[in-house]
Symmetry: C2
Subunit: 300 residues, 2 copies
């Protein structure tokens, strides 16, 4: 089954387009993990493994998909890369889809290696195959080809950066007439047009910041079949208001990512009546699903 | 000493702006390494470690700087990331500068993690600090800030992608009037203007494909102080002719990268009179230096 169809099914099953981002900051883990990270990168990576397995147990009943952010694992070196692989494997084991947020992009032969790593299992199964990958489009079409080929070969999805969630995204993404982001969106729509699943959605998606509700309808019209990854919900200021244009009315067509607002929920003053970090984290996920239910047309 | 001054000194000492890219393909290593990779990713990574240490011994007398390509290590998973760290450490030990070609770029907090990993030693020294890093500019100025801050803090260099070496680079990089690549180049010049070393060159450089000699003078004029990384020499079709506009006449101002034409030299028919892969590799490096001596104004 193609990625968009797997995602469609999982969103229906979980009743929500909510996605949780794994952006682990070793210094901001709940206990008992936080006090284990000071013994060095290997100990920190081990703590991350245990934390993420526990976290995945908490969120698996609620969400369809997770998004590990490669940067926060790489900062722990090889041990961090291993912890990232472990989180991906365990999430798959628990029935979650995994969208690797690595934002790779390079010339063709190098893109082929990145695509193999994250979508094809790497060299002799060195890394667990993920369901989808974020890709940076700056290098152009021939640089995107190996990612498209890998997506086809492994029934995986791609999310090309179109308009990102950061405040200064427009500096280059708004350049020209039409703006660069529109040109990239057009290319994403073209790549995706021949890659639609039975659900009607395409394997080739796009990243548009949840911090940009006013632009969502515009990008949706440029990419009618593309799954949209909407990062920045919560901590970065994105709210549910205005995200509805990304969805089809049945809660399909987009996934909304929150990372810090979920991961740091254990520190929230107003949740201290809940005893454990697991309960507070779960509460934050449930809240997010409720917030999204109005706009996505889903009922959690 | 700032990165551009360290590079200036090293280019002078080695008499060449030649750079060797480490793009290891496990299936294309010389023996005895090639036959060791089939036992799985860990064995392959171990073979890479040994190969790269031997390779660095061969090239260290000849070149100033190497460029590990992250993708070809990541494809071996955590063991590959470890092999990449080892190659960086050993190169530093042998007095080489290390430019990490990871082409990262993300929103601010994530860029900060990538910058820490590759320029700042990562979490508690999880990765050896590299001298410079390639950065993808697509996310804009606020996303570049953490890389600039890390470059300042660690006296490191950055090479922003401006116009890449692949045939289809123009799809997005030529978009608009002026073309996007010119706008990025202007931004690189601005970031770099306050970050010049005693040599006169800036810590903030740019990637312009060695496959694009006709555009080099143009980008040099837009970025008069930027060190230019010119990839694609040799295998990708870049030749020495026309690269001179990147240089100042004393062989300074740019580094020219070759990966496959050096790494695969051991297979060359015309070098089979040389007994070992080391001799053939060394010959390819010496040839490259000779080819570059006419345009760079250096004498190897």
């Amino acid at each position: 089954m193609l990625f968009p169809d797997r995602l469609h099914q999982a969103i229906e099953a979980k009743g929500s387009p909510a996605m949780v981002g794994l952006d682990p900051r070793p210094e901001s883990l709940p206990e008992p993990f936080a006090s284990r990270v000071q013994a060095g990168p290997a100990a920190a990576a081990e703590a991350l493994k245990n934390y993420h397995r526990a976290l995945i147990d908490v969120i698996a009943p609620h969400v369809a998909i997770i998004k590990p952010q490669s940067a926060f694992f790489e900062i722990l070196g090889a041990a961090g890369f291993d912890a990232m692989a472990d989180a991906c494997s365990y999430a798959k084991e628990r029935g979650l889809l995994v969208l690797m947020d690595a934002k790779r992009g390079d010339i063709g032969s190098t893109s082929k290696a990145y695509a193999s790593t994250f979508l094809g299992g790497g060299f002799q199964g060195a890394f667990p195959p993920c369901d989808a990958l974020t890709v940076n489009p700056y290098l152009g079409s021939d640089a995107a080809e190996p990612f498209l080929a890998a997506a086809d070969a492994h029934k995986a999805g791609l999310f090309f950066l179109v308009k990102t969630s950061n405040p200064g995204a427009g500096l280059f993404q708004d350049h020209g007439t039409p703006p660069l982001a529109d040109v990239v969106a057009g290319q994403v729509a073209e790549w995706g047009s021949t890659r639609c699943g039975e659900s009607g959605w395409s394997s080739i998606g796009a990243v548009v910041g949840a911090t940009r509700p006013q632009e969502l309808a515009h990008f949706r019209s440029l990419m009618p079949k593309a799954l949209l990854l909407l990062p920045g919900f919560g901590f970065q200021g994105g709210t549910a208001d205005g995200l509805s244009s990304a969805f089809d009315g049945q809660g399909q067509g987009a996934v909304v990512n929150a990372s810090r607002s979920i991961l740091f929920a254990f520190q929230r003053e107003d949740l201290q009546n809940l005893k454990t970090w697991e309960e507070r984290t779960e509460m934050a996920v449930v809240e997010m699903k409720e917030q999204l239910s109005c706009v996505s047309g889903t009922r959690p």
